[in-house]
């Protein structure tokens, strides 16, 4: 399955679950911000993807992808902003982000709001690859 096919699955799931128009679901759109998804919508989207592709992608997977498993106390500073360790991780996990623009002013607890449609497609693509290697 090619990336553009995964994009179409993700796009349809977002359209059906959130009720947005297809042309709003572009790669750089953030799920929680631009598309206005709430937590219940996000669960709905992930369940729809699971039903369509036959494997599970969870909100825990999304968080793990973004933070790389770095503990909260290292990912954020004492003031609650994303730390240098966190910013280095974001450079890898969310490559579209200009991390310098977040330094010292973006709260670590809001990191999920940076997650885009393209990021979700990448996560699904990775999970699909993992599933294929497990089955081989």
């Amino acid at each position: 399955m090619e990336r553009n096919e995964i994009f179409e699955v993700v796009q349809q799931a977002l359209v059906d679950a959130i009720g947005v128009d297809e042309d709003e679901v572009v790669g750089e759109a953030t799920l929680l911000g631009d598309l206005g998804a709430e937590s219940l919508d996000l669960l709905d989207v992930l369940f729809r993807i699971e039903r369509k592709l036959g494997f599970k992608v969870t909100i825990n997977d999304i968080t793990l992808m973004i933070t790389g498993g770095i503990p909260d106390e290292e990912f954020g500073t004492e003031e609650g902003y994303i730390s240098d360790v966190g910013l280095t991780q974001l450079k890898k996990s969310l490559p579209q982000i200009d991390v310098d623009s977040l330094r010292g002013k973006f709260e670590a607890e809001r990191v999920l709001t940076l997650f885009t449609v393209d990021n979700l497609v990448s996560l699904v693509e990775t999970r699909k690859g993992e599933m294929a290697s497990v089955n081989n």
Binding site: A17, L40, D41, E50, T58, I62
Partner: protein, 145 residues
């Protein structure tokens, strides 16, 4: 010292902290998602919650309120969704006589609460045709952390 006096003395000398969390959910959205049959309800709600709501005319209201309680609890813990706690590990049970709701935890949800030093917790739910709201209060013993 009498047991009651001991408990009172313990409370007076314990460093307590309080955490709250509140969440609001749209009942119409919950209803639409239930009807679409796309939500895996058993991975969100406990069997007790599903049994409580099943067959009731206001099922979407009950489930929206319970979903709000799960979110409110996670907010009170200060972790939000996606931090290893499954929503189905946070449940609401109702007192058989009064109907008063209370939280019942298991798995990672219970572990997080213990790690934080939660010694007491309470939840309040309210819902109408349009919205459901939940408010969770956690009492923390800082010495148990």
């Amino acid at each position: 010292m009498l047991r009651q006096e001991k408990e009172k003395w313990h409370l007076l000398t314990t460093k307590l902290d309080i955490r709250t969390g509140v969440d609001l959910q749209s009942v119409a959205k919950m209803e639409k998602k239930i009807l679409s049959n796309q939500l895996r309800l058993d991975s969100i709600f406990t069997l007790r919650e599903l049994a409580y709501a099943e067959g009731k005319r206001r099922k979407a209201e009950y489930l929206a309120a319970r979903f709000a309680a799960k979110e409110a609890f996670l907010k009170a813990l200060g972790i939000g969704m996606g931090k290893g706690v499954e929503l189905s590990e946070i449940g609401i049970k109702n007192d058989a006589l009064s109907g008063k709701p209370s939280l019942e935890l298991q798995g990672n949800a219970l572990e997080f609460a213990n790690r934080l030093g939660v010694v007491s917790m309470d939840v309040s739910l309210s819902h109408s045709e349009d919205y459901a709201i939940a408010h969770v209060v956690l009492l923390l013993d800082q010495e148990r952390k």
